[in-house]
Subunit: 241 residues, 2 copies
């Protein structure tokens, strides 16, 4: 059995009952080293296999091999495993290679949800998730989505907004949005949500400072109705008060 677990943003408090139970029942825990570290208190002295960044395919093969050997394997992903996590790759490999492994997916709280609760209520209306990493997606596809989302007035959650080698992506995305997004549009940033080094701030589209955004950050750009009140970022659902 291979259970692919979304552990949420990082703290045990934000994990689901299912995720905790699945971790406790596992024989072996597989994951990116940051994530296996986050669940350490729950794992005890179980076998833990950590792999580094960009080792996703290797990591999935390892987990599938172990499960095929009869081990109860827990693969940990941050947030939800089905959102830019490992659920897809696991299912792709298992179905394509007809591997003899039962896969179970356990949902988690993804970064946008955790960040939103820390900022106020920015996701109360239609929104989209866009990853600004072009490692696996051609940049022109990303561009098209950024422009479409801004033009149609979606609230936008940027995953992987900025990292080494992709320092300029967030600034480029903001440039693409500028024809439709007013400079006063609220923007919220949360870094390392639910972890020890958590930081958050709210600014505007026009005053955005990209330099403090990194790969652990989630950036939420409001829609035309989003406002800031008492330090909170709020997108009205549309009720008349």
């Amino acid at each position: 059995m291979l259970t692919v677990i979304g552990i949420g943003p990082g703290s045990e408090a934000m994990m689901t009952q299912d995720a905790i139970a699945a971790l406790k029942e596992a024989d072996v825990v597989v994951g990116y080293k940051t994530y296996t570290h986050l669940v350490k208190p729950l794992v005890g002295d179980k076998e833990v296999i950590k792999t580094g960044m960009c080792k996703e395919i290797e990591r999935c093969h390892l987990a599938i091999d172990l499960a095929e050997q009869g081990k109860n394997v827990a693969m940990v992903c941050s947030g939800d495993a089905g959102i830019y996590g490992m659920a897809g790759l696991i299912l792709e490999i298992v179905t394509k290679q007809k591997r003899n492994v039962e896969v179970r997916l356990v949902s988690g709280v993804t970064a946008s949800i955790a960040a939103a609760a820390l900022l106020g209520a920015p996701l109360m209306h239609d929104f989209c998730h866009i990853s600004l990493s072009d490692l696996l997606t051609p940049w022109d596809v990303i561009e098209k989505r950024v422009k479409a989302a801004a033009e149609a007035d979606f609230v936008i959650c940027f995953y992987n907004p900025r990292s080494r080698g992709r320092e300029g992506h967030l600034a480029k995305a903001f440039e693409l949005m500028a024809p439709w997004t007013s400079p006063s549009t609220p923007v919220g940033v949360v870094k390392a949500a639910g972890r020890k080094k958590q930081e958050k701030w709210i600014t505007t589209f026009g005053e955005m400072d990209y330099s403090n955004v990194d790969m652990t950050s989630l950036v939420i750009v409001g829609n035309q109705s989003t406002y800031i009140s008492d330090g909170l970022m709020i997108t009205p659902r549309g009720y008349t008060l």
Copy 2:
């Protein structure tokens, strides 16, 4: 203190530790009757105030009044309270009316995440959430978003896809998407995710039958790369296998 809690799709197993703790600590639980019923086993003999559908503003005022009187109030929402839930309305009222209430938001697993894990891994690439309810949103805004999302090849999660008085909305949305969405595009539907009456099925954009979709359903339309394999709906992240 007023804690606005996302209880997830319905089962205790999919609630976070934080949500369970907040419910246990509360003096009084406020919510839409279906949701207070879902958490009944956790609530014990606490005071429970249920209100009906379309009573959102009344419900929020009730919760805020009780919290201002010094009660520890838990307001329960299905999924995540910050996604088409009550978090926004609570913050709108509290900030506008300068109410003397401390509000805490507890994140939950929203319907799209729970549905995705039941269908396979359809949300592995950029996606958006669109509510097809025009109770609070002009239909032309919804139309614009549906078309933009289809044109930019987002995976789309439809919330409130179809209900009494809005029987035709999902069919209309599909019509709007047709210029960009191929008939073979996989579509997944999950009804009452995580609850006793849970149902799910996978079909295609061209063969979609709207009649069995209701207001407890979540509909996910894939992007151009989404495929069906072994009865699972998978959107590749882009890894070369």
